[in-house]
Symmetry: C2
Subunit: 252 residues, 2 copies
């Protein structure tokens, strides 16, 4: 006994368009066609459809389903592989949700925090726009909380370390050092290490800053005069950028 396309569709809870699609991609040809192209499905076809729908409901792509069913691929193994993908996707989503949540609180409280916050020396707020807009207000807010938690002494020590670094950069640039030389790369390593010490820096959870973050920052040093000034102007910033980009390509 065979069923029409509508019968099968209702039985399985899918649309007839779906069945035509499955026919078209070769996933489920009707067991018989006749009389103007009408599709007829026998019990075997219905059972195949049921297996298809089971796997589809588990989120498996149709092409994978086809190979599993046609090539008698080990169903359990296919499911395990599929499970891995689902878990990775779930983890990605969880990270994204956490990021949005942090961004949201940062955006909501951003106004107040920024108003309170007028630092001297390395101006932590002057670069707010760039930091928040490229790397998310969460990076800024996290770094900001950390900065305020440092205390007076901590802030001074941190700034001193930065000043040392900057002086070293400027000196090396003036001496015409090759950015890819050992000295340039050692400076870059110190710089990256310093960056990674700031919580909220993208990638710092993995122990070192994200490559693109470093590269983007390095480009910004050149592109933005306020940053470039920290390194003695455009030439110094260019040197810093070249050294950092080379380092990032090698080591990150």
């Amino acid at each position: 006994m065979t069923r029409s396309i509508q019968d099968v569709a209702r039985l399985a809870g899918v649309s007839s368009r779906t069945l035509r699609h499955y026919d078209q991609i070769g996933l489920l040809p009707p067991s018989r066609t006749g009389n103007g192209g009408l599709r007829h499905y026998d019990d075997g076809a219905v059972r195949r459809l049921q297996r298809i729908l089971l796997l589809r409901d588990l989120g498996m792509p149709l092409t994978d389903i086809g190979t599993v069913l046609d090539e008698q691929t080990d169903e359990a193994r296919a499911l395990r592989g599929h499970l891995d993908q689902l878990r990775a996707e779930r983890d990605r989503l969880a990270r994204q949700i956490a990021s949005v949540e942090r961004t949201l609180t940062a955006v909501e409280q951003g106004g107040r925090i920024m108003a309170e916050q007028m630092l001297d020396g390395f101006d932590h707020t002057q670069h707010k726009d760039e930091v928040t807009q490229r790397w998310g207000a969460d990076a800024y807010a996290t770094g900001d909380a950390w900065w305020r938690g440092l205390g007076e002494d901590g802030r001074k020590a941190w700034q001193a370390r930065l000043q040392e670094l900057n002086d070293a950069w400027i000196g090396a640039a003036r001496r015409g050092v090759d950015p890819t030389s050992d000295e340039g790369q050692a400076l870059a390593a110190r710089h990256v290490e310093w960056l990674g010490a700031v919580p909220g820096t993208p990638g710092s959870e993995q122990g070192r800053p994200a490559k693109e973050y470093v590269v983007g920052l390095a480009e910004m040093y050149v592109a933005d005069d306020r940053f470039a000034a920290n390194y003695g102007g455009t030439d110094g910033a260019t040197f810093v950028r070249d050294a950092l980009v080379a380092y990032a390509e090698r080591a990150l």
Copy 2:
């Protein structure tokens, strides 16, 4: 000072193709074009790009980003709405993962369980194929574990309840009752309630079986002679189906 498309692309860590795409959909027009259509971006455009990328990295669709940026839509509110979507998606994924996990253990252990399992009376294994193939081996395995956990007395009581129901169905069908009448619908309600008592029934977590599950089952009662026999043949099964489908449409 303006930048070329490649400069901006490197600065932001995206491809030039992406920038062209953003121009094409009106999300980020270059601030100036000239000389053979070359795109030039000023600082304002770069800042806009940075905001776009922040929101994009949070998983927001480009059209939504466009409205947020253009219509000065409240950014916090947009983020909250987006967060809801992400959470719903996460929950869906979690359920799917759990389902795949259950299916996997069921598939791996299925052979053994099925071999042990030869019940009398209402044959719980005879319909295994239909149950597992349409609703997943997990539904079968869950129901199976529940069935074995019932104990001898529980199983007898459950079967008695089913027998009562079946007799009532057959009687009503013989008397020519209208499936949509109060009597037919009351029977359908009892049937659905009985279904929902079986753990593993799709939708029973929400307190009542899924509409499509009931409809699919009802169709199967007619389509499969082994099921139809429970209701006195095709005519009885048709009556049961019509009553169940009407009930499902109304109440599920």
